[in-house]
């Protein structure tokens, strides 16, 4: 589920950071409203908790065991907004300190595991346990929420990886990042999640929620946020935002029929056509052969001058700041 560095193009990474920034901002505002003070420890311990449950192996039939992502448990216990922050903290820490997931992919990984899973899980749990559900229905709702959430997140990962060959190919049309088209990446993500990891998540979520309901009752959900329509609308918007940004970043309109087909089926023989399409989109400077050695040399010099100027600016700013 954690996307490592190198699989997503820098543009995709930037888009997901851009999408997550407002989510993080709104989430921290929401959490602050719900709790009287900025309750850092609650978020931090929520994140620490996710960390720890990822290490717990749940026994499943056949003598095997698997571990859950745990996002749904966290969002049911803390509420979806606090859940988003706690899970993003966990994802960030995993990327930086444990090499689980890429540093540049923190935005995308937070989007999948913190945002999608947290909200999809929380709202499907709430929707399925509307009214006054009995214990059995609550457990079923939790299981369904776990299953739905982890599969949606897997779908998101599949899409993110699958569009890479289309939106970020090299000048010659060869994929520079995740190499597989949607037709391969989606099933590759979905099949194991639908058959194996989804049931583990469902089982784990149901078991933990069942235990929480029995032993902790209402006090487990102190930080739980209500479901205001405005926020739900914002959530939907935010989900759509990255797709929209990707669409803007790569002119969909310029893709011919073949390219769209390529996106769906990745007709590999269409490579020559990509080349044509991409030549027009990318600035010329990448094309060494077209410009010759001289142009490259000029570019290197200007890069050196540019970075020198930037470091000088940092130095002067630092001097001023220290006074």
């Amino acid at each position: 589920m954690h996307i490592p560095d190198g699989y997503l193009s820098p543009r995709t990474c930037a888009v997901f950071f851009a999408a997550m920034l407002p989510v993080w901002y709104f989430a921290s505002k929401r959490v602050e409203e719900g709790l009287k003070l900025k309750n850092l420890p609650l978020l931090a311990l929520g994140a620490a908790f996710t960390f720890v449950i990822m290490m717990f192996n749940i026994p499943i039939p056949g003598g095997s065991s698997g571990h859950m992502v745990g996002s749904v448990v966290v969002s049911i216990a803390l509420g979806p907004w606090a859940g988003v922050i706690a899970l993003s903290l966990a994802v960030t820490l995993q990327a930086f300190l444990f090499g689980d997931g890429g540093v540049l992919a923190i935005g995308a990984n937070s989007f999948n595991m913190a945002f999608i899973m947290s909200f999809a899980g929380y709202y499907s749990y709430r929707a399925l346990s509307l009214g006054s559900p009995g214990h059995a229905r609550k457990i079923a709702a939790a299981a369904a929420a776990g299953y739905v959430a982890v599969n949606l997140a897997a779908l998101a990962v599949g899409i993110e990886l699958g569009i890479q060959p289309v939106i970020s190919a090299g000048t010659d049309g060869r994929p520079l990042y995740a190499p597989y088209p949607l037709s391969i990446s989606i099933p590759a993500m979905m099949v194991p999640h639908a058959l194996f990891l989804g049931p583990v998540e469902a089982l784990g979520t149901a078991l933990v929620v069942s235990y929480m309901e029995k032993t902790m009752g209402n006090d487990m959900a102190r930080a739980r946020g209500g479901s205001k329509p405005l926020w739900t609308a914002l959530v939907v918007l935010a989900v759509l935002a990255p797709l929209g940004l990707l669409a803007v970043g790569t002119p969909w309109g310029e893709w011919g029929r073949e390219e769209v087909l390529g996106m769906i089926g990745y007709v590999p023989s269409g490579m020559e056509r990509y080349e044509g399409a991409w030549k027009g989109l990318l600035p010329d400077y990448g094309n060494e052969s077209a410009e010759g050695i001289g142009a490259s040399f000029v570019y290197i010099i200007s890069a050196a001058i540019g970075s020198l100027a930037a470091v000088l600016a940092v130095y002067l700013w630092g001097k001023r700041w220290r006074k």
Binding site: S9, A44, A48, I53, M55, H67, T92, F96, V314
Partner: protein, 294 residues
Amino acid sequence: MAEVRLPDWLKESRGEPCLIGKGGSHGFLDKTLANISAFMRETLSSGAAERPGALQGLSPKARIAGFLLLIIACSITGRAFMLIGALVIMAVAMLMSNVSAASLAKRVAPSLFFTSVIAFPVFFDFITPGASVFGVSVSGYSISVTKEGAAIALFLVLRVGVMVALASLLLLTTRQADFFKGLKELKVPHLFVTALYMTFRYVFVLLKTAEDAVLARKSRTIATGRLSEAQRWTASRIALILKKSMSYAEEVNMAMISRGFDGRLRTLKAPGMEGRDYLWLFLTLFFLFLSFGF
């Protein structure tokens, strides 16, 4: 209060020796324990971060910023020679920083292996058509490695390997406290960095609880229990840890308020950067600018 009377059966002892034989496994317990101890081993061994070296001598903020610039550059570039250039920079930095190649390789290996498995089919013509390098043909079915396929797959493996290695080298040469300090100095919001740090810190406390819970069960496991019972046990431990994390959160919050926290964090001013910090930033920035073009 009456004196405790021990029941008679408690006074008997077992005479016969224990028989050695094959027993049931408690796989999920051992796996959980293995996860926990791997985590502890990885985070508590400071290794090269405590040794003197070129990277260790940089200010935390310059070190983190420089590595981020290199990682971004490796993400942007479309050319293998840029990635190999990053590899060379890294090798030099590694040698100047007392980091052993083995410790770096150990961190990079899992990602590299994973990516190699993923990239493997890309070599072949059923994924990437093109000029065949070599191929086999068995009863009408043929399969061959293509030049294009090899280029794509090797490039992906190289890129992932270099990016993971960069992140690992940063980690290996940075003490955890310095890492969080560096993030703060890079103007990442203090509340976020503090929450990040606290997450890291309390993972240890919660893991201790988790470890004790698993060990307590292991010591009492005589026969392999029923599956449903094992699942219920796991759930109850996870819920226990959740409960503990919530009560801890409340207490830690009080401890912060008690010492004057009012929603605003105040920290000491960071020391400024020195010549070598600027040199490092220049080099990494230059590399980033190059990656825009190549």
